[in-house]
């Protein structure tokens, strides 16, 4: 089983040199900590920054320089600022090579629900709906089950949808799965996790075929 950092670490293996990447709030943000040495990856923050650097040292903190999570950040050589229309323009026109998002639920057709829980105060979708509707390459980072032990990888999402058929890959604490026309296709197992564990924790259509590898981190 992976912890949050393990999930982030595994997702970081999907990065390629030259990628522009948008990392959602939460676990996805941790992916930035595992960019392989020497690989050039540029982080996009949808509030209007390309080339996001690490958190600032105390003396570098600038209220006019935050990320989409409203955290103070820094720039890097080659960074650029732009307005939010341009930012979502680059997202919608498919310039972002990889988008990593958290989710409350996904289903076996790649639908994602991550913005609203009926009965709870709805804070809003922020940029999530634009991201999921636009990105060619979305990886979801999530726990396989909720706190009650119920699967979050479903036949049908029970929560209001953020986007349809957009998730291509999911990395959970248990495994890596591609989402294809046939459903959740198991590709890799986390250390100490069995196929049986995944079966038990997955509600949607599950495809177990071909080589299922041990996850490398």
């Amino acid at each position: 089983m992976l912890d949050k950092n393990g999930i982030a670490k595994r997702i970081a293996r999907e990065l390629k040199d030259g990628y522009y990447v948008n990392l959602g709030i939460g676990v996805p943000t941790l992916v930035a900590n595992y960019i392989p040495e020497g690989m050039h990856v540029t982080l996009q923050s949808e509030n209007g920054l390309l080339g996001m650097g690490p958190f600032p040292y105390e003396h570098e903190v600038d209220a006019d320089l935050i990320n989409a999570g409203k955290q103070t950040v820094t720039t890097l050589p080659g960074s650029s600022f732009f307005d939010s229309a341009t930012s979502f323009g680059m997202i919608r026109s498919g310039r972002v090579d990889l988008t990593v998002l958290g989710a409350m639920e996904i289903n076996d057709r790649g639908d994602i629900a991550n913005w609203k829980i009926p009965g709870k105060m709805v804070k809003g979708m922020g940029g999530a709906m634009d991201l999921v509707a636009s990105a060619q390459n979305i990886i979801v980072a999530m726990m396989h089950t909720n706190k009650a032990g119920e699967s979050k990888l479903l036949k049908e999402c029970t929560l209001p949808i953020t986007g349809l058929g957009c998730v291509k890959k999911v990395v959970t604490d248990l495994c890596v799965m591609d989402i294809t026309e046939r459903g959740f296709e198991l590709r890799e197992l986390a250390p100490g996790v069995s196929v049986e564990d995944v079966k038990k924790a997955t509600d949607g259509r599950l495809v177990i075929e071909g080589e299922i590898r041990q996850m490398e981190l």
């Binding site: 006019d64 409203k70 930012s87 634009d130 949808i161």
Partner: protein, 232 residues
């Protein structure tokens, strides 16, 4: 046609009860602090506010919420605000949630004289309810409309007396599109300079879009999530 006004009070003097305002900023970054303070002082009521967020309890648009000046918020994300939640649950406040990119593009469309456009965000979700959908190149899109607002209120870093604006860092965010989208646009700036002092190549919003401009004072620039790393 003097664009320069003395202060926020003068700039907002035309704003009436019941109007629709756009307010620049993302979170608390790049918000028009002076104008918000003046609106709170003036006590203008029943406002519809188009702004990506609604501030926090004691800062930004949150200050207007405290005074119950806001009838409706049109935003993409409204967390971090207990008073907002209270008013929403009690029915005192209406909220319309819009995907962030759609919010930005609906502002941009207003400033560009584009009445409507297609965007993929929200297709298949409750955001699409009642909206025209159409397929282009095998993908589904929603028809969205330009915003119609009485005033846009933005915060820039530098401005000149012709209304030209330059923003700093991620304080740019929604400010340029809103500046271009308002029927009347108010810009508050940290530095107000004479024509010619800003490089014509570096201007983010040409002065033609700005009706009133003033030098703001006492910027607090509150930070919502102060994240730092140790060392130096």
């Amino acid at each position: 046609m003097k664009k320069v006004v003395a202060n926020a009070d003068e700039a907002i003097s035309g704003i009436q009860d019941g109007m629709t305002l756009m307010l620049g900023g993302f979170g608390l970054c790049g918000i028009p602090e002076n104008s918000i303070a003046a609106l709170v002082k003036k006590g203008t009521k029943r406002l519809t506010c188009i702004s990506n967020n609604a501030g926090v309890d004691d800062f930004g648009i949150g200050l207007m919420l405290q005074q119950k000046q806001v009838k409706k918020m049109i935003s993409s994300y409204v967390g971090e605000n207990a008073e907002f939640e209270r008013q929403l649950l009690s029915g005192e406040l209406e909220v319309e949630l819009i995907p962030q990119g759609t919010l930005a593009e609906r502002c941009r469309a207003a400033g560009a004289g584009i009445p409507a456009f297609f965007t993929p965000a929200g297709f298949g979700t409750e955001v699409a309810e009642g909206k025209e959908t159409r397929e282009f190149n095998g993908k589904m899109y929603l028809l969205e409309h330009a915003f119609d607002s009485d005033y846009a209120i933005v915060k820039a870093w530098k401005g000149d007396t012709e209304g030209n604006l330059i923003f700093k860092g991620t304080a740019r965010n929604f400010n340029p599109m809103m500046a271009m989208a308002g029927k009347i646009t108010i810009a508050e700036v940290e530095e107000l300079v004479q024509p010619g002092e800003l490089d014509a190549n570096e201007i983010h919003v040409p002065g033609i879009f700005v009706n009133h401009i003033f030098k703001g004072v006492n910027y607090e620039k509150r930070i919502e999530q102060r994240t730092v790393r140790v060392g130096s």
